[in-house]
Symmetry: C2
Subunit: 358 residues, 2 copies
Amino acid sequence: PRRYTITLLPGDGIGPEVISVAKDVLLLAGSLEGIKYDFREMLLGGAALDATGVPLPEETLSVAKQSDAVLLGAIGGYKWDINEKHLKPETGLLQIRQGLRVFANLRPATVFPQLVDASTLKREIAEGVDLMVVRELTGGIYFGKPRGFGTNENGEEIGYNTEIYAAHEIDRIAHVAFKIAQKRSGKLCSVDKANVLEASMFWRKRVLAIAQEYPDVELSHMYVDNASMQLIRNPKQFDTIVTNNIFGDILSDEASMITGSIGMLPSASLGDSGPGLFEPIHGSAPDIAGQDKANPFATVLSAAMLLRYGLGEDKAAGRIENAVLDTLNRGFRTADIYSAGTKLVGCKQLGEEILKSV
Amino acid sequence: PRRYTITLLPGDGIGPEVISVAKDVLLLAGSLEGIKYDFREMLLGGAALDATGVPLPEETLSVAKQSDAVLLGAIGGYKWDINEKHLKPETGLLQIRQGLRVFANLRPATVFPQLVDASTLKREIAEGVDLMVVRELTGGIYFGKPRGFGTNENGEEIGYNTEIYAAHEIDRIAHVAFKIAQKRSGKLCSVDKANVLEASMFWRKRVLAIAQEYPDVELSHMYVDNASMQLIRNPKQFDTIVTNNIFGDILSDEASMITGSIGMLPSASLGDSGPGLFEPIHGSAPDIAGQDKANPFATVLSAAMLLRYGLGEDKAAGRIENAVLDTLNRGFRTADIYSAGTKLVGCKQLGEEILKSV
Ligand SMILES: CC(C)[C@H](C(=O)O)[C@@H](O)C(=O)O
Ligand SMILES: CC(C)[C@H](C(=O)O)[C@@H](O)C(=O)O
């Protein structure tokens, strides 16, 4: 049997609950497809801060690097909100993204037909939305230097960051996006603010250069302010979107909310080589942590992305994706996606129902 | 009678058509309230590029500076899209904002009860939305230096910008926002990305400091990615939002699209002293320019903001705002907001109907 080492990072809040479900689902789908796993559970985020004093312990990163894929629950919580930057759970997340060099963040926003009414958008607008945001994840203003605090020439306090992209950073994310667009509808929209920012003008120039290699993909460009409107006005006009780190942060969250069920949405962060990082797009939901109320679907679907994009195990991935649809069709819902006529269950029981469908 | 000098900047596309209507409305509402105007019509944007070779001629800026208020139509068009940055219509807009030092951009997003069905959001979500985005307009990454193109230490091409805020820039926009929140519901939400960006941490620190002077305002903070979701999930949770230039660009457009009728939305850009700049939030719509199809309501409402915020002429402003509501109630609509059972008219005729209601 094929054997993979998987690093599990339960993290904070509802993280451990959803990771526990996803692990069981991975195990079952794997065993049915001749896959074995060695799981290594490691600390990240607030859990790591409490236990070791740092949000990303060295051991976590080195174990993650040596594994075949990394599955993350969620990080963060009120408790650590007042911490200084280097002691924030979020900093651990940024560090592991950079440490694993996973520069391509794939965030599908899919409206599940069973859940279309959960969207705040009208049914005819939300129905059938199926788009993919490809977000640059290890560059731009998130990591650009110089950054920090200081004083300006008038002796006044300032805070500053640098939005910066080098050619190879744009080229490699553009290649990922064009390849994804090829496999999808062949339409790619690059989002920038090239009417104002030099970093965006350069982004657009490089995307146009890379486009030469993908004559079969229909490339368009859109300003980020317009994109934030068009996502609401008519989300179905989009198939694949590629954009920088900060615009991707904002637009992928907007796109996910359009579906009405962010508890359903997974993500994959990939590099050129080495393990990918897979995580639900929702947060750690500290208010419902430990209450068996969390929705594990997004993490289960992240496990499916892990199999598909991280390990090339399409069959096992397909099993999981089908199991999610089947469980939805059988009417099982956690509170966040519950509606009259469906069956309200907790995180654990939903996990068991998914296992029945695998 | 009170006498004001108003600079009119028709600009490009549908700009001249909507400015012409707004001018007539200003004249009539003014004459009924004992106000006289000296109008000076000047060039900005593509129109200025074609006539003078630059997007903001010196004469335009100096006339604007000497006037009591500036009313702008819209700028931009396909024709100039390929221009280099310093020859883009948009650059003229950025220059006049900076030249007039209008650091506070007020963008109301109001759902008109008559038009609630134009929103792509469900009626119960969109109904009653009435929020105000206060966007910092003359700082941040739009104007920060260093910026440009170059090569990095590996000899690789780069593009970069600087997001930077000095204390006084944050303090003054915070004061504007707190005062607006005081006059509205007393709730202010400051949007930043303080979990990642130093510029945002500094923003939050200054907003918290200024908050001491406004104990009657309930201040909250939200990350920009979450704000982009919450605007869709439940826009009515917001009253006044304050944020930086680039986040304000994105979020104010998102908020305006929630209303479903961006053809209705005005904006005001104000400084500490000197004339304010008033403009509709929609663009120049080159595809319908010159066809008498433009919706003049947003520019007419911008003229009302000019009277209220620019000249302190609340009565004349109220006349215009009421005239807009009355015209809507009488069923007159341009194509962008038309629905079955209402009366479809062109830009000019809508202008005449508004005049009847003033
Ligand atoms: C937690 C935060 C640092 C992170 C980001 O901004 O990238 C999150 O919002 C995300 O999108 O994964
Ligand atoms: C045209 C462009 C430069 C401008 C901006 O980004 O500020 C516009 O989008 C706006 O919001 O007024």
